[in-house]
């Protein structure tokens, strides 16, 4: 009963009646409450207004504009010619802090916003919604794994593994086995995928298979963003080259092609096909007779000599003559805007003397004039003549129905997955390789959005261990000690004052 009365008192604010005698206090009370409420409302309105007015206004102060959507992406999204869906095959993460999804979820929301309804982003956990997977690919031939993104437009789609969009510190990984994220290519990948999916100018690139070719996933992904459909080519099984094939990429095969295969490729060239071939010493000492003969027909001879750069200014590492900066020939550097490409352990590619061919050959990538080429299994001898050696050559012939072109590279540094990942980032080299393919297919592509790298926080002036100790002692002992003793001195002096 007592409680009930108290509640009713509380509800009817009976307590206030006690103050009824005091008009002044009551009006002050009212005024006080009112002023607080008014201030609160004003502040809320102000905040809401600012939120509305300045919603998308911000300045990204980071050097690499880590937090803003690039102009290129904005252009792609505002001019989307077709509907695009992005589906995350996982539950939309709520707490983004310190998870890699903070790089994805807000950015894709931003994409959705910028596309003005042309693009949608949704998240479905395939365990909870198994049907979503069937909707993505009705043929059922693709397996979708959880925790990936699917970018879909019409019937075509691209699967993106978030992990592939992260760039790790390869040194930390190889030496300390730690994964340290140094950058990300989220925008590169997603914007690239979107432009690929909606692109009307779609090219087909075929990668040969069946000769222990090197992995090409990096190149394939990037080509896809450039608007290529990348397919596998099993020459022996397929018995021919598909009609839609515009360029064939032979990436570091380790066994020779059969005569039949070489014949098909040769015909392909005669029909105006384009081939880019990479062969370094990873196939040595296997005889690559048929394949090399194909190049020979284009007046390019692939030797078993290794290029040794003797000019220190072009050497990458002081004590290793076999890793160097390749010089891009004028014709290509003016086209691509790239002057040097990191290469290494390269076969020397020479102008062949196959006189029956009327192919025209021109250099792409060369050493300095102080390089030598020596047989890979022998040591360099003194009597070698220094001169310009070639890492890559281009050859063209007028075939039966078109102009066949072939590019041969003696180094896998800029095309093969194993080199790319172990070298960390060789962005210019990879770009160079892609541009070579574009130069063959005649495709003009927009520059892809560069990956965003976190600034390096490494000390350029690493303190020695003793210096570290001094600083540490200063910071966690001396400075606090000075403060504490100042406090104690003040306390005691004033205590007895």
């Amino acid at each position: 009963m007592n409680l009930l009365r108290k509640i009713s008192e509380f509800l009817t604010l009976r307590k206030k009646k006690r103050f009824i005698k005091d008009q002044r206090s009551r009006s002050m009370h009212k005024y006080s409450i009112l002023s607080i409420v008014v201030l609160f409302v004003i502040l809320i309105i102000m905040n809401v207004l600012v939120d509305l007015l300045a919603e998308n206004r911000f300045v990204d102060l980071t050097a690499q504009k880590m937090n803003s959507v690039s102009e290129e992406t904005r252009k792609v999204l505002t001019d989307l010619p077709a509907e695009v869906q992005i589906i995350g095959l996982f539950e939309r993460p709520d707490n983004l802090e310190s998870s890699i999804y903070q790089l994805f979820v807000p950015l894709l929301d931003k994409y959705e916003e910028l596309s003005k309804g042309k693009m949608s982003v949704s998240y479905y956990d395939p365990d909870a919604y198994p049907s979503i997977v069937f909707g993505l690919d009705p043929t059922g031939s693709t397996s979708f794994s959880k925790d990936t993104y699917v970018v879909k437009s019409g019937d075509r789609f691209v699967i993106i593994d978030p992990m592939d969009c992260l760039i790790f510190d390869s040194y930390e990984y190889s030496v300390n086995n730690r994964t340290v994220i140094v950058g990300n290519s989220v925008e590169t990948v997603f914007t690239g995928s979107i432009s690929y999916l909606v692109s009307g100018d779609l090219r087909r690139a075929y990668f040969t298979n069946g000769h222990s070719e090197s992995g090409s996933s990096t190149i394939r992904d990037l080509l896809r963003y450039d608007g290529y459909e990348c397919k596998d080519l099993y020459l022996e099984q397929q018995g021919g080259i598909p009609d839609d094939c515009e360029v064939i990429i032979i990436n570091l095969p380790k066994s020779d092609f059969t005569e039949n295969e070489a014949g098909l490729l040769s015909d392909f060239l005669s029909d105006g096909g384009k081939i880019i071939m990479v062969s370094d010493f990873s196939s040595y000492p296997t005889e690559m007779t048929n394949l090399f003969a194909l190049a020979e027909k284009m007046r390019i001879s692939i030797t078993s000599d290794i290029i040794r750069e003797n000019s220190p200014e072009f050497m990458l590492v002081a004590d290793n003559n076999y890793y160097s900066k390749g010089i891009v020939s004028d014709a290509y550097s003016s086209l691509f805007g790239i002057e040097f490409v990191t290469v290494g352990e390269s076969r020397s590619i020479q102008l062949g003397d196959y006189s029956e061919s009327d192919a025209t050959v021109r250099p792409i990538l060369a050493s300095s004039s102080n390089a030598v080429a020596h047989y890979v299994e022998s040591n360099p001898t003194e009597n070698l003549v220094e001169g310009t050696k070639y890492f890559a050559l281009h050859s063209a012939i007028d075939g039966r129905t078109g102009r066949g072109e072939m590019i041969v590279l003696g180094t896998g540094f800029i095309s093969a997955d194993e080199y790319i990942s172990s070298l960390g980032t060789n962005d210019d080299g990879i770009r160079f390789f892609r541009y070579l393919i574009h130069s063959l297919t005649g495709k003009t592509v927009q520059t892809p959005i560069p990956a965003k790298f976190l600034p390096s926080y490494d000390f350029t002036n690493m303190p020695s261990v003793s210096e570290q100790t001094i600083w540490t002692v200063m910071l966690i002992a001396i400075i606090p000690f000075v403060f504490i003793s100042a406090g104690i001195i003040v306390y005691y002096r004033r205590k007895h004052k």
């Binding site: 201030l39 300045v59 937090n67 000390f459 350029t460 002036n461 690493m462 910071l475 306390y491």
Partner: protein, 259 residues
Amino acid sequence: MIAYYKRELLSYFRSPTGWVAMALYAIISGFFFSSWIPSGGFDLSGEFVFVSGILFIVVPIITMRLFSEEKKTGTDVLMYTASSSLSGIVVAKYLAALTLFLLMNITLLIHMLILLIFGGEINAVTVGSLFGLLLLGAVFIAIGTFASATTENQIIAALLSFTVILLSRFVFIFSEQFRSITVGILSALNVFGISSERIASAGNGVRDAMNWLDPYAKVDDYFIGVFRIQPIIFCVSVIVFFLFLTYRLMEKRRWSQNG
């Protein structure tokens, strides 16, 4: 007003309080900093974000005494009978506490200098994080000032601001809890046949409204090097609001019926 600013600021250094707060701040941040030196590289913004997470320890120390002591010693009479306005005195005391906080952050500037000596990287993210940290500090000091005005007991004032600041660190967790509670209640009481989507969006509304008040989420942008005006407006609003509450609370004693 200036009189109170000077008195409060100097009183931090007349008693051990100011020194202890500075030492504590220096030790915690210094420990964090020096533990990173051997790794050969350090993103200083990480330290600033870390420090912003321990404000719940630092801020109560510098704000607990601001008003609570006045009531206890009877010196509040001076505030009420001085010809300067009470609001000015509230602002003066707040600014004094804020100044001490800024002085404490000189430690962090020293860390910046050392980092420069090591040839480390200082960029927009670093500076933005420092700014975010200072802004958070300014907000929490306003809350601490108010807490100090609510009670005559320093310890209670400290505990109060400690709790509020600590809780604000976890707004995003509570908001999620409140979302599910709202959804649960609405679903249980669903007599009007509201669709489950509506209920879910109501829950999200509750969550978003709470998250909107999260000061840490507000300054997050600064921690990643993005400058926006909204966090500043928000933080200044919170500061103004709490200082006004403090002023009203002090003023209330003049006309309150409870003596």
